[in-house]
């Protein structure tokens, strides 16, 4: 379908990343030679076990946690499910009130919805037009029955970074568990679970150049939590299932690389990101930036364009070899506009023309310039077809 000759440019790193070749190399032996079950007594098993524990140690250190606070599993979705359901059911006797932000990832939103059906009370925090949580609304919302607060560290669509240190402090003072979904931020911006008073944290491998199928939940020692899966008692009894050692080894290697290169990498990405934002806003009339201009992920840019629709933008870009993404209603299976854009006050038609561009380790300046130029053309052509105001281009 897509012209094979054209150069393809990947600008959807927030959806998933390629595996870094260094990560791939680190994983390989655990597929081929050291393939043992980490629960087995023999040398095959014990070698796998050692790799698993080394990986745990690497990730714990990076988060400033201890090893036995890291629970490996298969995805950020699973981690978020475990955090919310696990804490909710283990702490039922203390209360049934759970607070989340309105711009959580769907896996938190939908888990919360399900918990509501089980009799828990779910409340959503106030946010401003950039998506930043209002701390006063949090203070006011907390009551005796509150058992958990869950706020995404950096939003997956608009890239806004939340003040999780402050949120953590408020929760700790009130003796309430605080969970943060750091799937988009871990490896990109510094996290210290101690300083930030975080009780539970979700991290994912395939958003940071590790393989798919590996993720973890940090659970601070002493937090009361129930497992979702019962079985052989793996992962301190919190996640029974044969452990996916190769993927976890890859995850840990990816964390190591991100941690070592974070400063340099984020500086480079911020430069590229700001070049993109400036370029688009200058070159394309009727274009707007979504999310906070500064408090945003180094690799995220999100725009909306007047009079055009997002899915059409993405499809046109794809025919020029550029991969980006949209949260427009037309691209969602339910035909509803993004709950994140609606929550930051967008009218439905504004949420219609959104485009997310997420940069990564292999993004070059030329890619950004090519995108800006191509995007200007695409928007112009779509506006020509659009029945709405056309004197903008």
């Amino acid at each position: 379908m897509v012209n094979k000759e054209i150069k393809r440019i990947y600008l959807d790193y927030a959806a998933t990343t390629p595996v870094d070749p260094r990560v791939f190399r680190a994983m390989k032996p655990y597929f081929l030679n050291e393939f043992g079950n980490s629960a087995s007594l023999h040398t095959f098993g014990q070698n796998a076990k050692e790799a698993l524990e080394n990986s745990r140690e690497i990730i714990a250190k990076t988060l400033k946690a201890t090893s036995n606070e890291i629970i490996f599993n298969s995805s950020a979705t699973e981690s978020n499910n475990l955090a919310l359901k696990g804490v909710a059911f283990a702490n039922k006797n203390r209360g049934n009130h759970i607070i989340i932000s309105p711009i959580e990832h769907n896996c938190v939103i939908n888990t919360a919805k399900w918990l509501k059906k089980q009799g828990f009370e779910i409340e959503k925090l106030d946010i401003d037009k950039y998506g930043i949580v209002n701390l006063d609304s949090l203070k006011k919302m907390i009551k005796d029955e509150t058992i958990l607060v869950s706020v995404i560290h950096a939003n997956n669509e608009i890239g806004t970074i939340e003040p999780i240190g402050e949120i953590g402090e408020i929760c700790r003072k009130r003796n309430i568990y605080f969970h943060t979904d750091a799937a988009q931020s871990f490896g990109k911006i510094p996290i210290d679970v101690k300083k930030m008073n975080i009780d539970l944290l979700t991290a994912s491998s395939h958003k940071m150049y590790g393989p798919k199928g590996a993720a973890c939940l940090f659970v601070r020692k002493g937090v009361k939590i129930e497992p979702l899966l019962h079985g052989g008692g793996h992962e301190f009894g919190l996640r029974s299932s044969t452990v996916n050692v190769p993927a976890i080894v890859g995850f840990a290697k990816a964390v190591e690389i991100c941690n070592k290169e974070m400063e340099k990498e984020s500086q480079k990405l911020i430069k590229l990101r700001d070049r993109l934002i400036k370029g688009v806003l200058n070159k394309i009339s009727g274009s707007h930036l979504n999310g906070h201009p500064k408090k945003r992920l180094p690799n995220n840019a999100n725009f909306w364009f007047e009079f055009v629709e997002g899915e059409s933008i993405v499809m046109h870009l794809d025919s020029y070899g550029i991969a980006a993404s949209t949260a427009s209603a037309c691209s969602s299976p339910k035909l509803e506009p993004s709950h994140v854009l609606l929550a930051i006050g967008f009218k439905p038609q504004e949420a219609h023309g959104s485009l997310r561009v997420s940069l990564g380790r292999w993004t070059k300046k030329e890619d950004i310039d090519y995108l800006i130029e191509t995007l200007a053309n695409v928007i112009k052509n779509l506006r020509k077809i659009s029945p709405f105001k056309k004197n903008v281009y």
Partner: protein, 166 residues
């Protein structure tokens, strides 16, 4: 997700744009997804007295499928008599595109509605007999239209303002 045909029409849509002094306009929108389609027709009388659609153009704000169905319906309707054109329905549109993903079937309904509305507009402006079936469809579409026009009020006003000035 989309067939080759859909992508072809999407990338190079046929008959895009507007017709000056059209004989009929169909303006429709889908409340759920928010897509909007405007269809313009020009009608000419043939020697045997039959009305035929001599020219047709579209303007669409919407997804890939909305643009592709707009394009394909102009192909299907061009040169057809009003009577034949009224037979173009979503099944025909979907067929001529080699299929649409299930969530995108409603985009073809939008195109069929737009054509119905354009024809209705032409018939009623010219005080012609309107088939009962078309009247019914028109009523249903009008209901949706109100909601959609409310949604895009600012944009539609800006557009109309611009036309007045031109």
């Amino acid at each position: 997700m989309y067939t080759k045909k859909v992508i072809e029409h999407f990338r190079n849509p046929h008959n895009q744009g507007k017709i000056k002094n059209p004989d009929g306009i169909g303006k429709v929108g889908n409340i759920v997804c928010g897509d909007v389609m405007w269809l313009y027709i020009k009608v000419r009388k043939k020697k045997n007295g039959e009305d035929i659609i001599s020219n047709i153009k579209f303007e669409t704000f919407g997804c890939t499928a909305a643009i592709a169905t707009s394009s394909v319906i102009t192909d299907l309707a061009k040169g057809k008599s009003i009577k034949e054109a009224l037979k173009i329905n979503k099944t025909k549109i979907v067929e001529s595109l080699g299929g649409l993903p299930p969530v995108k079937i409603h985009c073809s309904v939008l195109a069929a509605d737009a054509l119905d509305e354009a024809i209705y507009d032409y018939l009623s402006k010219n005080k012609k007999n309107i088939p009962e079936e078309l009247k019914k469809r028109h009523q249903k579409i009008m209901h949706e239209k109100k909601t959609i026009e409310e949604k895009y009020k600012d944009w539609i006003e800006a557009e109309e303002e611009m036309h007045k000035n031109n």
